[in-house]
């Protein structure tokens, strides 16, 4: 072996771990880019739009008179202003809670029936709420996030949400901030947004709901919180609960000014 080849072999050996770590990151970046080509979330959006317009429930009416905050039936841009205070419910509501409210008040479903299947399983068990959420959020694509804190209950929800973000608990001592408080961090190979910065909150919040390739399912923001808490070793987050809405208010308001770009597609 001549001296040059020996040197090249040595250099190759020295660089091997670095190169393979680099190529892993590259491959993941390529995979993510490839995902953007076609987004199956469109199937959920289409099914959601049909569900929105269909006469359903005991009262056999559609959701077209549902007030998402911008007046009955206004879907365009509604998600970019949620959560918000609704006088008729005397409560701050996120989109999913408001959809349940309309299914109960307009269509005559019981509260339990309306939210009995919030998350699908990626196969036969499909969730109408996921589809409806996909449709409504898609109607805010390209709209700037603008979540107001005007009503005292909106301010309170935001402040409680902030407390919950830093709440450390459970067997593993985790808070949201444990994983989402620094730039450029990851769990295993999964990148984590820093939700304490405006850019981080905007990038994360404006890309939910998302079609999750690994689950073959469209996932909503309520699901995102639910599954984060599961991994935090907390008990089960109740769908539409005050904690879920407070945290959503906190994160959505922090994302203000960011252009909404969901439903997106993720790993």
């Amino acid at each position: 072996m001549n001296r040059f080849a020996w040197l090249a072999a040595f250099a190759g050996l020295a660089c091997a771990p670095l190169a393979s770590a680099q190529s892993t990151t590259d491959e993941i970046a390529k995979y993510r880019a490839a995902l953007q080509d076609g987004n199956p979330a469109e199937l959920w959006e289409a099914r959601g739009e049909a569900l929105w317009k269909e006469k359903r429930g005991p009262k056999q009416v559609s959701l077209e008179a549902c007030d998402l905050g911008k007046g009955p039936g206004v879907v365009k841009g509604a998600y970019a202003e949620l959560p918000r205070y609704f006088a008729d419910a005397d409560r701050v509501m996120d989109l999913e809670t408001r959809l349940v409210w309309c299914m109960v008040r307009l269509q005559g479903y019981s509260d339990a029936d309306a939210k009995k299947n919030p998350f699908g399983n990626g196969a036969d068990k499909r969730s109408d709420l996921e589809a409806l959420t996909a449709y409504v959020t898609s109607e805010s694509r390209g709209v700037k996030m603008s979540v107001a804190l005007v009503h005292p209950k909106e301010v309170e929800a935001y402040r409680i949400g902030e407390k919950l973000f830093y709440f450390r608990g459970g067997t593993h001592d985790f808070a949201c901030a444990t994983c989402h408080g620094e730039n450029d961090k990851r769990i295993r190979l999964q990148d984590l947004p820093n939700l304490m910065t405006t850019e981080g909150a905007q990038k994360a919040y404006t890309t939910w709901p998302a079609y999750r390739v690994s689950q073959g399912e469209l996932r909503t923001f309520e699901w995102r919180l639910y599954d984060c808490f599961r991994q935090q070793r907390f008990p089960e987050l109740v769908y539409g609960s005050d904690a879920a809405i407070a945290l959503t208010t906190y994160l959505a308001h922090n994302a203000n000014g960011g252009v909404y770009d969901g439903p997106a597609i993720k790993r």
Binding site: P17, R188, V238, S241
Partner: protein, 229 residues
């Protein structure tokens, strides 16, 4: 402006002022947040609602909202947690590293979705680099690759490491790490240099010129950032 509109203005200004003074204090919001949590979760699988009960350390650290605790509070938290560390009765601090790797890899355990009879791992790789061969490692925590090399393997270091794994708050209370990092860096760099005898450094300088020296400088500064005791 007539008298009536003046009066209305005055009244609204008073109302606004009253609203400001009655907005809930930070303590009120904290206790509301705790009550909200209790109402917003349900027990599932092995995860009961008692998991929402914070201990003193969790309460103190949560209230800092991600900020560095004052030194005296940090010292109190550390002391309280150091007191919980139970060292092995036989004094043996080193175990079976192969079993350690298994525990470090295992991510399951304690989630409400986990089988209570199933494995309970430490999930170290979620946040730390450990072995060279595992590329799927997280970066929330510092890299622990070649931990023994950079920290040494004296009994003191072993005791520190054992205690750190037993209860991580015993040695770092929240963001106090940053302060410690400043103090510890020089010593660690000295021990690092110790790992690479001068004659080897001189030899690689002779053979590979400036390129490798530059690469090593980059590596060293990266290592400096990574190592946090």
């Amino acid at each position: 402006m007539n008298l009536r509109s003046r009066w209305v203005m005055f009244a609204s200004a008073t109302l606004v002022a009253a609203a400001c003074t009655t907005s809930p204090s930070d303590e009120e919001i904290s206790s509301k947040a705790t009550a909200t949590l209790k109402d917003s979760f349900k027990a599932a699988g092995q995860a009961g609602l008692d998991r929402l009960d914070q201990d003193d350390t969790q309460r103190a650290c949560s209230s800092l909202s991600g900020k560095t605790p004052p030194r005296e509070i940090a010292a109190k938290i550390e002391a309280a947690n150091l007191a919980t560390v139970k060292y092995p009765a036989d004094g043996k601090l080193l175990g079976d590293w192969k079993n350690g790797e298994k525990i470090a890899q295992e991510g399951r355990g304690k989630q409400f979705s986990d089988d209570p009879k199933g494995p309970v791992g430490a999930n170290c790789y979620a946040c730390h680099q450990l072995s060279k061969s595992e590329l799927s490692f997280g970066t929330i925590g510092p890299s622990l690759y070649q931990y023994g090399k950079s920290h040494g393997n004296s009994v003191e270091v072993q005791r520190y490491t054992y205690g750190k794994i037993f209860n991580s708050e015993a040695f770092i209370a929240s963001a106090l790490a940053a302060v410690r990092r400043e103090q510890r860096t020089p010593r660690l760099l000295a021990s690092e240099r110790h790992n690479e005898p001068a004659r080897i450094r001189a030899r690689s300088r002779r053979r590979f010129g400036g390129r490798f020296a530059a690469a090593r400088r980059r590596r060293t500064s990266a290592t400096k950032r990574r190592i946090v005791l």
